[in-house]
């Protein structure tokens, strides 16, 4: 018996594709470097300095939280607006969100000078601190995501009674989750309100919490598209392109609103002139607007794009790039350093960041292989004929 289990186990491991091994190697390497970082401190393992106390890690945290916004966006569409045609996308998206948040939590602890005191935000509140609010919301929302995702495991275990309970509380859970997301997506923007002297005026605005929230919806939609497309290639299972494309249908609205608000804000604040001066900042801002908003808006308005897997993915990648840039601008490129300081990430910072991201990709892949992640989704041989993979109680 034991031998048989061992043999199955080894057989499974042997069946891992090469890219999965690469991810596992990156994870192990990142883990090693991470332990070293915790043991020797930030000075030797990062290039962070007095002028740039935050860097690569905070940039990634902001970006990963933004695209993990896909989880609350989708859950709201499916359970609150009851657009059941999107239901099949919830599990993979909630899992991506959950893993995104997990990676942020790990990196945040890495980033603390006193990482051994990571729990202090629970016992020493400062209600005026945006970071305090962010910490709480992320912790609570991660808990909500775990509950939202737990049916995958219970289903595998066949615990019908627990499943029934969770199904009953799904809607309140989703509403709580969406509320928490609204709070922390925006309060990640509120982080910058007190930094009026550090953040460049193109990004600094009292509306920054609102911008962070709206853009997280866009990033979230793009993430859903990206995730569905990648599952299609990796697991050979996904949603019909018709459904994937209809997420793209929302994007011009969200991005258009976002871009108009951003430009309008600059106009009202009489800072629009900054966009016409040629320097690094205006180039960064234009890149956000053109690559991250204008191009995908035009793309997703076209039905041809929405009906084509590759084009939809490319459009989504444009959106993600725009938001990526936006978050890195706020956390790094557009923050004025103390005079005389420079920063390029240390290789160990990069190793830890990609180690954590790889770990999440590995977990996602393994769950996708062994758990009913794609209940009710379609197995896809050819694009036209779909059939249900695992039948689960329809919503």
């Amino acid at each position: 018996m034991a031998q048989k289990i061992a043999r199955t186990f080894i057989g499974e491991i042997k069946s891992f594709p090469a890219w999965l091994w690469v991810l596992i190697a990156l994870t192990v390497f990142g883990l090693g470097v991470g332990v070293y970082r915790l043991a020797v401190g930030l000075g030797t393992t990062t290039n962070l300095n007095h002028g740039y106390p935050w860097g690569l890690w905070i940039g990634f945290d902001l970006f990963v939280v933004a695209f993990s916004g896909g989880a609350f966006t989708l859950a709201t569409l499916v359970y609150v607006f009851q657009m059941h045609e999107f239901h099949a996308a919830t599990r993979p998206t909630v899992l991506t969100g959950l893993l995104g948040y997990a990676s942020v939590l790990i990196i945040l602890v890495m980033d603390l000078g006193r990482w051994d005191r990571f729990y202090h935000f629970m016992i020493f509140p400062n209600i005026n601190s945006a970071l305090f609010e962010v910490s709480w919301c992320i912790l609570l929302y991660t808990t909500v995501l775990i509950s939202e995702f737990s049916p995958v495991f219970f289903q595998r275990l066949g615990w019908q009674r627990v499943l029934d309970v969770i199904k009953k509380i799904t809607v309140p859970l989703v509403i709580i989750g969406a509320t928490l997301s609204t709070l922390h997506q925006s309060s990640l923007g509120s982080l910058f309100i007190v930094m009026s002297e550090r953040l460049h005026p193109l990004w600094y605005t009292p509306l920054i919490p609102f911008f962070f929230f709206v853009s997280s919806v866009a990033a979230g939609l793009a993430m859903i598209i990206g995730g569905a497309t990648i599952s299609y290639w990796v697991f050979k299972q996904s949603l019909p392109q018709k459904v994937v494309g209809s997420f793209g249908w929302f994007l011009p609205w969200v991005l258009g609103f976002y871009a108009i608000m951003k430009l309008g804000e600059l106009l009202i604040a009489e800072e629009i002139g900054l966009l016409l001066t040629a320097n690094l900042y205006s180039v960064l801002f234009w890149s956000e607007l053109i690559i991250g908003c204008a191009i995908p808006i035009v793309m997703f308005m076209s039905k041809t794009v929405r009906h084509n897997r590759v084009w939809t993915l490319i459009g989504a990648l444009f959106v993600l790039f725009g938001i990526f840039l936006n978050r890195f601008d706020a956390a790094w490129f557009a923050l004025k350093p103390a005079p005389g300081f420079e920063y390029t990430p240390h290789w160990m910072e990069i190793a830890i960041q990609f180690g954590v991201l790889s770990a999440m990709a590995v977990v996602y892949t393994l769950i996708g292989r062994y758990f009913p992640l794609f209940e009710e989704t379609v197995h896809n041989g050819d694009a036209e004929k779909f059939h249900v993979v695992a039948s689960a109680p329809a919503e």
Partner: protein, 264 residues
Amino acid sequence: MNQYGMLVDLTKCIGCRGCQVACKQWNDMPAELTRNRGTYQNPPRLTSKTMTNIEFREVELKDKLAWVFVKRQCMHCEHPGCVAACTVGALQKRAEGPVVYDENRCIGCRYCMYACPFGVPTFEWDQTFALIKKCEMCIDRVDAGMKPACAKTCPAGAIQFGNREELLTVARERVYAKNSPYIKHIYGEEEVGGTSWMYLSSVPFEQIGFPTLPKETPVYLNDKVLHATPTIALGMALALSGVYWMVKRRNVIREYLAAENHEK
């Protein structure tokens, strides 16, 4: 308002760095290894081992090259960004004026470094378990009825400790006196809502490395936005519940109508 303040008269400072040393002694701060950079200024800036630092600024004064010595430390803002920002409330503004730091709370997130408009808080980059360091206006001495160590030491009388309002009166008298050598600006009187430390100078402040700051502090806005949290949360939860209920109802009605049509 009975708050402590400090007044630095840059025209009186002789650059002896007695204050820098006194600060190190009182706070048990270690020495720093630095290199000769071709200036007397040492170390180059505030660090986690040097909470007050004398900068040797070269300026042109009446067509002659001159040195201005600038004492740097935490400004002890009236509305401190660092205090608003601190995740765990390790930084606090005391009613008497000083902005103090509780190293037993700090988690080393470094948000305060970005929130400070003067770039004051410094981080112990060389430590495994690293904390923030910044001037606390010698709160332990002040609590015991003594002056801060720097003010006690200064042989030139360039640093005055006292009641902020009274110091402001003194400052105004000096600045607006006849033939006063000072420029007509008391730095710290109004910057970002005022600071407990104030400076007098005979050269414009922007020439000697003081940031030009607005009178308004972003702290008010920060607090307002964050205090709106419960309202936003409640609003969002109610709105979503409302939407859920409405959509559900619409679907029920739709099904009912469909059934009715069917019957006909």
